[in-house]
Symmetry: C2
Subunit: 406 residues, 2 copies
C-alpha cells in the first residue's frame, strides 16, 4: 500500500473534475464542483444520522435506492446547504441533478448532489445553472485539487488523500477529498467526503467496506458534538482498472486501504476544525465492549470542561474522570488508570486506582502544551479499546461561531 | 404562598448556621459552614448521577440509609471537593462528620457532609478541625446569608430564597441556599443546595416531594452539559412549627412551594453561570411525551452552536432545528414551528412547517440581544411540553475554564 499525500479523487483512472465560481460564496472563491466518471460506477453512500436533513441527502438516498450501479457524477456546491428549505429546496436539488445530467449527457438518476453552507436559504438557481455548464466545460483528469478547494466552506485548506494498493493482479487506486466540520460561518456544520476508486467492487461489498471504514474514521472524530444536517460520504467504484476487489485477500486489502484513506481525511478535518490549536487522541482501553469504549471516549472528547483544559494546557485529570463517569457506561472507578503523552517516550501516568500518582506537574503541563498529544484512560473492566480524535475548545471557536452571519 | 427573596436556610424555625474561614480558599473568604437544627430532622437527599462521585456523596448516601429521621446537621466546606481522593478522601469525610458531631454533641450518623471545589486534592484536616470549632461557636439564627457565602466557589453572589406557606392550621416556612455550576476555577463543577423547613413531613413524603421539585428545577438547567462528581441537594424537615404537611391539601401545598423554591434557586444558578451573559428559556411543546420534550430541549440547550448563537445575538434557527434533529427523538420536521421572544408582546415566529417565515431579521436580532429571552419549538407531534433554562456560551467561559489551575 502506497500513501499519496497529494493524491485526490482524480488519482484513480477514469475520473475527472471540473469547477466553477458561481458567486454563491461572497468571497469570490470557487463554489461548484462536478466529479465525473467515464465509466458507470457502483456507488455507496452514508449520510448524517440527524433527522433534520438537507434536500440533497433526501434526494441522494432516493437516487441510490433506485440506482447504485450506473452512477456517473456528483455535483456539489458550497456556500448554501439547501437544508431547512422545504419543498422548494427539494425542487432545487432535483434541478441541480437535471442540469448536471444534461451537461454530461446522462440520466438524472446517474447524478448525486451535495450542498454545504448556510441553512435555511434557497439556492440561486440561475447561478448554479451557469456554474454547472462552466464546470462541465473544464472537466479534466487533474481537477481533483481544484475540486477539493471548490467544496471548502470555512476550511482553511483543502483536504485530499489517495492510496495505491498493489495486488498480485495489478494496482488499484482509491482517492478522496473532504471538507470539514469547521463552522466559521455560523450556519455551516457539514462534513462531506467524495471517494473514488478504479477497482471493481460489487455494490454489496462497497457498502460493507464503506461502513467499516466510516465507523473507524469519520465516526471517531468530534469538533463540538453537533451533528450536521448534511454530512455525507460517497464512494464511486468505476472498475476502470479492470481489477477486482470482490473477494479474498484483495477485498480485505481494499477495505484496509479505504479505512486508511478515510482515517487520514478524518484527521485532516479535526486538525482544521474551527479554532482548533491542538490535535488530541483520546484512547480508552479496558472496556467491556468496543461500544462501551466508544461511548466513554466520546464523552471525554466532547466535554467542554475537558476541551477547555486542553486549550489551557492544563492536565486536569479530574475533568477527564468526571467526563468518563457521566457517560452512562458502568466501570469500577477504583480500577481506573490514566496516562498522557505526546509520544511514547514521554508517556506519564497521572492516575492509578483512581487516585493521583506522584508525578511532575511541569512535565504533565509540557505534554499538554504540545500541538499533538494523547490521553489514555484504562477502565480496568475488559479488553476492548478504541481511539477517537478531537481538538481543544478555544476562545477562537466561540468568537467564530458567535459572529453574526452577515 | 409568600416568596421571600432575602430568605434563607435560617428562615424556618429552629435552624442556625455558623461559618468559618479555614484558609482552604486562597482568597481568604469564608469556606466552612455548619447548619444545625435544634430538633431532629426527617431528611432526604438527591445526588449526582455521575458514577465518579466525591467522598461526601458516598458517605451521605450511607448515612441516610441508616438514619433519615434524626439528622441534626450539615457540615460543608468549599475550595476542595474531596473527589477522586481514594481511601484517604473517605477517611477525611468521616473525620469531618466526627468533628462536627463532637462540636454539636450528637452522634456522627446525625451529620451530613458536603464538599465543593478542586478535584483530586486531599482536605487539610487541621484547618477543617479548627474551622468546625469556630463555626460551632458562632452558630446563630441569622446565619443563613453567611452560610450561602461560605459555600460559594466561583459564584459571584450567594444564592438564597425562602417561601412561606399559609395553611389553615398555621404557617410553615421552607428556606434554601445553593451554590452554582459556575466553574471559574477549573476543577470546580458542583451544584449544592441545602433546604430546610419547619414543617412536619414524614421521610417517605419528603423524598417524593424532593424528587418532584428537583425534576422540575435543578434537573432542567444546563450550563455546559458536564455533570459534577458532587452535585447534592439535601432537605431537612425539623417539625419545629408543629404543623403537618403529611397529607391532603397541605401536602400538595408543600410540594408546590418546594418546587417554587427549588426553581428559583436553579434559575439563580444559571444566571450566575460561568461567562453567562444571557438567560435563555428553551421551551419545547407538541412532543409525544414529557421525556421526549425534555430530551429535545436539552439537546438544544447544550448545543455549543446554539449557545454561541445566543452569545452572538444571532437568531440562527437552523442550528436550533439541527440540535433538535440530532436528539434521537423522532418527530416530523415538516410540522415544526419556532417562535422567539423576550416577553409575550414581542413574540416572533421564525419557522412554520420547517421553513423560514417572512420575518424581520432586525427584530429577531433585537430579541436575541436581550439579557433574557425564550425560544419555543413546537414539534407538532403530541401534547407534552417542558421548559429548560440555559445560558449563552461566551469567550469568557472558555477563558475562565482554560486558565491554568494555579
Amino acid at each position: 500500500m502506497r500513501l499519496d499525500f497529494d493524491g485526490t479523487v482524480t488519482s484513480p483512472q477514469g475520473f475527472q473534475v471540473g469547477t466553477a465560481t458561481c458567486g454563491i460564496k461572497t468571497s469570490g472563491n470557487s463554489d461548484l464542483m462536478l466529479l465525473h466518471s467515464t465509466h458507470n460506477c457502483n456507488t455507496a453512500g452514508m449520510f448524517t444520522t440527524n433527522q433534520v436533513v438537507g434536500a440533497p441527502v433526501t434526494l441522494d438516498r432516493e437516487t441510490l435506492e433506485v440506482n447504485s450501479t450506473t452512477i456517473r457524477a456528483i455535483v456539489a456546491n458550497s456556500g448554501i446547504a439547501n437544508a431547512c428549505t422545504g419543498k422548494q429546496g427539494l425542487k432545487n436539488a432535483i434541478a441541480m441533478q437535471n442540469l448536471a445530467s444534461k451537461s454530461l449527457y446522462c440520466d438524472p438518476k446517474q447524478v448525486l448532489v451535495l450542498s454545504t453552507g448556510v441553512i435555511g436559504v434557497q439556492l440561486p438557481m440561475e447561478k448554479i445553472d451557469k456554474g454547472i455548464s462552466t464546470a462541465a466545460s473544464n472537466l479534466n483528469l487533474e481537477g481533483g485539487y481544484a475540486g477539493a478547494e471548490a467544496i471548502m466552506t470555512t476550511d482553511t485548506n483543502p483536504k485530499l488523500f489517495a492510496v495505491e494498493i498493489k495486488l498480485p493482479t495489478g494496482t488499484v487506486t482509491i482517492g478522496g477529498i473532504a471538507k470539514g466540520a469547521g463552522m466559521v460561518h455560523p450556519n455551516m456544520a457539514t462534513m462531506l467526503a467524495c471517494i473514488t476508486t478504479d477497482a471493481e467492487v460489487p455494490v454489496s461489498i462497497l457498502r460493507k467496506s464503506l461502513r467499516t471504514a466510516v465507523n473507524k474514521s469519520f465516526n471517531r472524530i468530534s469538533i463540538d458534538g453537533d451533528t450536521s444536517t448534511s454530512d455525507s460520504v460517497l464512494i464511486m467504484a468505476n472498475s476502470a482498472s479492470g481489477i477486482s476487489c470482490a473477494q479474498g485477500e484483495s477485498r480485505k486489502a481494499f477495505t484496509t486501504a479505504l479505512t486508511c484513506l478515510a482515517t487520514n481525511l478524518a484527521k485532516q478535518i479535526v486538525k482544521d476544525g474551527e479554532g482548533v490549536n491542538k490535535f488530541v487522541t483520546v484512547h480508552v482501553s479496558g472496556a467491556a465492549s468496543i461500544k462501551a469504549a466508544h461511548v466513554v471516549a466520546n464523552s471525554i472528547a466532547t466535554s467542554p470542561l475537558v476541551k477547555t483544559a486542553f486549550a489551557g494546557s492544563d492536565p486536569n485529570w479530574g475533568r477527564i474522570l468526571a467526563a468518563a463517569g457521566k457517560s452512562g457506561i458502568h466501570f469500577d472507578l477504583s480500577e481506573t488508570q490514566l496516562w498522557i503523552g505526546s509520544r511514547i517516550e514521554d508517556e506519564l501516568q497521572l492516575v492509578k486506582k483512581a487516585t493521583s500518582c506522584d508525578y511532575d506537574e511541569d512535565i504533565a503541563q509540557q505534554i499538554f502544551s504540545q500541538p499533538e498529544f494523547y490521553v489514555h484512560l484504562d477502565l480496568g473492566n475488559g479488553t476492548s479499546e478504541i481511539s477517537v480524535w478531537t481538538g481543544d475548545l478555544t476562545e477562537e471557536y466561540v468568537r467564530i461561531n458567535s459572529d453574526y452571519r452577515t
